[in-house]
């Protein structure tokens, strides 16, 4: 359907189908699968939802295992989580063909469909994250009066436990959703879910670090947050290496295509390697130097997380037109 009349020189004289010459074994150069119809809202939602989940989990870990300073500082992560979640549902709805029917997602419970599971998880996680943030706001005196009294009723331990479970599901299902298709770049490796999970936790803990550094957190807390963030980045590098190795030639639309700069410089360089280096540099520093280095590292991690989702998402669309990769994926 690409050509018009008169035939373009690319198609004339017409190639022969089914000849097995010139590398193509299929029907002309037609794609085997359809190009995904999703637009920018989807990677933006994956990025924000993942960051919210990562921030919530990091804040809850500090809340339950950390020192008094850790607890006080990391609780700001609940604000980050609530704020990052706010645009998620609107983005998800905007991407639908018929946004006015968004509630049809919730007319059945069908965890077999990652899309359905994600809709339910977001529906459950959003109010919990908002309630936990409100509870923290009430405890610091930010919300007063009857609303504050209401927010103080939130069972914090329960909200942390349930929120972590739902948050990890939210951070973990997005890569599985893309993987549960027949798009070669998304489906060939089984590690995309793990990769997006690691990236979500790295960006979420980075968001906690960012607000901690801005609020002048004690050095010990910043060092611990840097350690947690670096652990997620190391996990991300491990998942990424496995993902690229398993994908092999299938990964070409990502590693050499028009999204390769966003992927190598943005997702890999700025998103994982640079923050690891900066945190290492910050390891012995204190005070302002530590806060500055932590801030730069956190911003890089967060931006890299967006670059990762966006480049893999967009390169996946190009991958859908890769006929030989589709045959490779479905080889018996």
């Amino acid at each position: 359907m690409s050509g018009n009349f008169p035939p373009s020189s690319r198609n004339f004289p017409p190639p022969l189908a089914g000849e097995g010459e010139g590398g193509g074994e299929g029907y002309y150069d037609n794609p085997v699968v359809r190009r995904p119809v999703w637009t920018w809202e989807v990677p933006a939602y994956f990025w924000l939802g993942g960051m919210a989940a990562g921030a919530y989990v990091t804040a809850s870990l500090a809340q339950n295992f950390g020192s008094a300073d850790d607890r006080r500082i990391a609780a700001g992560g609940y604000y980050v989580a609530a704020a990052a979640l706010a645009p998620c549902a609107p983005l998800l709805i905007a991407d639908l063909g018929r946004p006015e029917r968004f509630h049809h997602m919730l007319r059945i419970f069908k965890p077999l469909s990652p899309m359905n599971l994600g809709a339910w998880t977001l529906t459950g996680f959003t109010p919990i994250a908002v309630a936990r943030a409100a509870s923290h706001a009430a405890s610091t005196g930010l919300i007063r009066g009857p609303l504050g009294a209401l927010a103080r009723l939130v069972p914090t331990r329960l909200a942390e436990l349930a929120g972590c479970a739902l948050g990890l599901t939210l951070a973990g299902y997005s890569g599985v959703l893309l993987g549960a298709t027949n798009i070669p770049l998304w489906a060939k490796s089984k590690l995309l879910g793990g990769l997006f999970m690691a990236s979500a936790l790295a960006s979420g803990s980075a968001a906690v670090t960012l607000q901690a550094a801005r609020r002048g957190a004690p050095d010990a807390t910043l060092h611990r947050l840097a350690l947690v963030e670096s652990a997620a980045s190391v996990g991300e590098i491990a998942m990424l290496t496995g993902y690229l190795a398993q994908s092999g030639k299938t990964a070409r639309p990502l590693t050499t295509g028009r999204f390769s700069a966003a992927f190598w410089l943005g997702a890999v360089g700025a998103g994982t390697l640079l923050p690891l280096l900066l945190h290492r540099l910050a390891g012995r520093r204190q005070g302002r130097a530590l806060q500055s280095l932590s801030t730069v590292a956190a911003v890089c991690t967060i931006a890299g997380s967006l670059a990762l989702r966006w480049s893999i998402f967009e390169a996946g669309k190009d991958s859908s037109e890769d006929q030989s990769a589709s045959f490779e994926l479905s080889r018996g």
């Binding site: 359907m1 009349f5 008169p6 035939p7 373009s8 198609n11 022969l16 189908a17 074994e25 299929g26 002309y28 037609n30 794609p31 085997v32 359809r34 190009r35 999703w38 989990v57 990091t58 870990l61 339950n64 295992f65 950390g66 639908l96 063909g97 018929r98 946004p99 029917r101 968004f102 049809h104 997602m105 007319r107 059945i108 077999l112 469909s113 899309m115 809709a119 990890l168 951070a171 973990g172 299902y173 599985v176 959703l177 549960a180 298709t181 027949n182 489906a187 089984k190 995309l192 879910g193 793990g194 999970m197 690691a198 947690v228 652990a231 997620a232 998942m239 006929q323 479905s330 018996g332």
Partner: protein, 280 residues
């Protein structure tokens, strides 16, 4: 109380199951007349796809899509110095396979995609919210979402319905009805499968050594998506017709994918607990 709930929600009893219906598309009989494409467009009131010349033989349809539910392929197999027997012109009318384990149906988050009483796969247009997940899920590239602006039911998923409305009235689907050479045969899937095996035997006996059936229960292409209720007799390898050798069902690897995801998440939680808890 359940009865009251059903009345309140306007829940109907599903119609009783009937015998599985399907297509047997015998490509050895196809003459490339495209009557099936036209009949499908007319009966289902699908808009035209525009005037475009692909340059690929007589195929100016391109591929199946939201408003194209039958697609005739033209495969010219001509060798520069080949003998006359080696010159072949293969034609094939492609269609939704109505898989026994349909990837689109499993992906659908709203329940818009259902299995009908005829064991076919059908999109309920009043339920679909156009999330688009079925589009990349289909291993055959069949189902697609209509554009957000257009003449057709906008922005919902569409594909062959096996003429569900005609089946309800005991009628043959439009494409099979219009096929002048019986290349498209409609009927009970079990009976069609027997007919296909007989036909393959005949063709093999006549020296069509490359002929094979695609979508039978015993075929390796059925290992994940199950038998295809619209299956084919092909005169060359499936890839020649852009058909995957073993179409994948995404569900099969989902547990493993969630497993890696969970491992990373729990690993992080453990590291976080140790870092925050292990302070001096």
């Amino acid at each position: 109380m359940i009865e009251g709930y059903k009345r309140l929600m306007n829940l109907e009893e599903p119609p009783p199951a009937k015998k599985a219906k399907g297509f047997f598309t015998d490509t050895s009989l196809c003459i490339g007349c495209k009557a099936c494409e036209v009949a499908c467009k007319q009966w289902n009131q699908l808009p035209a796809d525009g005037f475009a010349i692909t340059g690929n033989s007589y195929d100016n349809t391109g591929h199946l899509g939201a408003t194209t539910w039958r697609h005739v392929q033209f495969i010219e197999q001509a060798k520069a110095n080949g003998s006359r027997q080696e010159q072949r012109w293969l034609m094939m009318s492609d269609v939704c396979k109505h898989c026994a384990n349909a990837a689109c149906l499993e992906a659908c988050p709203t329940g818009a995609l259902i299995r009908t009483e005829f064991d076919t796969v059908y999109v309920q247009q009043d339920i679909c919210n156009g999330c688009g997940f079925c589009v990349p899920a289909c291993p055959f590239g069949v189902i697609d979402r209509a554009p957000k602006h257009g003449q057709f039911e906008v922005a919902t998923a569409h594909k062959c319905t096996l003429c569900y409305d005609r089946l309800k009235d005991d009628m043959t689907p439009a494409c099979a009805k219009s096929c002048p050479t019986a290349s498209i045969q409609f009927g009970d899937v079990e009976e069609l499968q027997q007919r296909a095996r007989r036909r393959l035997g005949e063709l093999k006996a006549r020296g069509e050594t490359k002929a094979e059936l695609y979508g039978m229960p015993e075929g390796k292409e059925a290992t994940e998506v199950g038998p295809l209720h619209a299956f084919f007799l092909l005169l060359d390898r499936p890839q020649t017709y852009n058909l995957p050798e073993v179409p994948r069902l995404p569900r099969k690897t989902m547990a493993q994918r969630y497993g890696w995801s969970a491992a990373v998440g729990l690993g992080f939680a453990l590291v976080g607990a140790l870092v925050f808890g292990g302070r001096r």
